[in-house]
């Protein structure tokens, strides 16, 4: 019940295209859903996060869509750039215990 399932495992998109990564969770106690971006040899860095009281959050080219009833959330990267090539992790946590439960990661490659 603690799992967060992420798909796809990898994604190739042309420059200017849209990258879409999906996550699903089981634990309805989760109340914070961040997305992390990780470049090779670096630690995960927070990209954008959402709470379940909103259905969408946009920051620049990055948008999280959240569907509470379906227990799913997704990351959309608009106008993908080669610099966006990285591994993206969705995660979830519940306020009572702080720890992050990560999805399996999606390796995104943006081709110029």
């Amino acid at each position: 019940q603690q799992q967060v399932k992420q798909s796809p495992q990898s994604l190739i998109v042309q420059k200017g295209g849209i990258s879409i990564i999906n996550c699903a969770y089981e634990n309805t106690a989760f109340d914070y859903f961040p997305w992390y971006q990780q470049f090779p040899g670096k630690g995960p860095a927070l990209l954008i996060a959402i709470r379940p009281d909103v259905s969408e959050k946009k920051e620049g080219r990055f948008t999280i869509s959240f569907n509470k009833s379906a227990k799913q959330f997704s990351l959309h990267i608009m106008d993908s750039q080669p610099g966006d090539s990285a591994t993206y992790f969705c995660a979830a946590s519940k306020g009572s215990d702080n720890k992050l439960t990560f999805g399996g990661g999606t390796r995104v490659l943006v081709k110029p």
Partner: protein, 114 residues
């Protein structure tokens, strides 16, 4: 910009040896974590630490693991008798507050057990 700093960046150790991974969290943060990432797999929670004690640990964090905050700045992870399967990237993270605040990750220590 403040950052979480981890040392060393890479550690190679013989099976059965003890290793200590070091972290300097962001100075005004109160919550500290260790996560690990086995090559090609997802990031997994190991332990959380607050107010000088462990607040939660995963089933991975067994008796061979321990954490310590020996002074006001360092946060360490000790693995007492390393096994081959401990080979992974270990990430330290810190947060300023408890609920729904951003966790800042260090760049990681790659531990290789041979």
């Amino acid at each position: 910009e403040p950052e979480v700093t981890q040392t060393p960046s890479h550690q190679v150790t013989q099976m059965g040896q003890e290793v200590i991974l070091r972290c300097v969290p962001i100075s005004n943060h109160l919550y500290f974590y260790w996560y690990r990432q086995i090559l090609g797999q997802k990031v997994e929670f190991l332990v959380s630490f607050y107010n000088n004690e462990i607040s939660e640990k995963s089933e991975i964090f067994d008796d061979q693991f321990s954490v310590e905050r020996p002074d006001g700045s360092n946060f360490t992870l000790k693995i007492r008798s390393t096994k081959l399967e401990d080979s992974a990237m270990y990430f330290c993270a810190s947060k300023i507050g408890s609920r729904n605040t951003e966790a800042f990750f260090g760049q990681g220590t790659r531990l290789t057990v041979v």
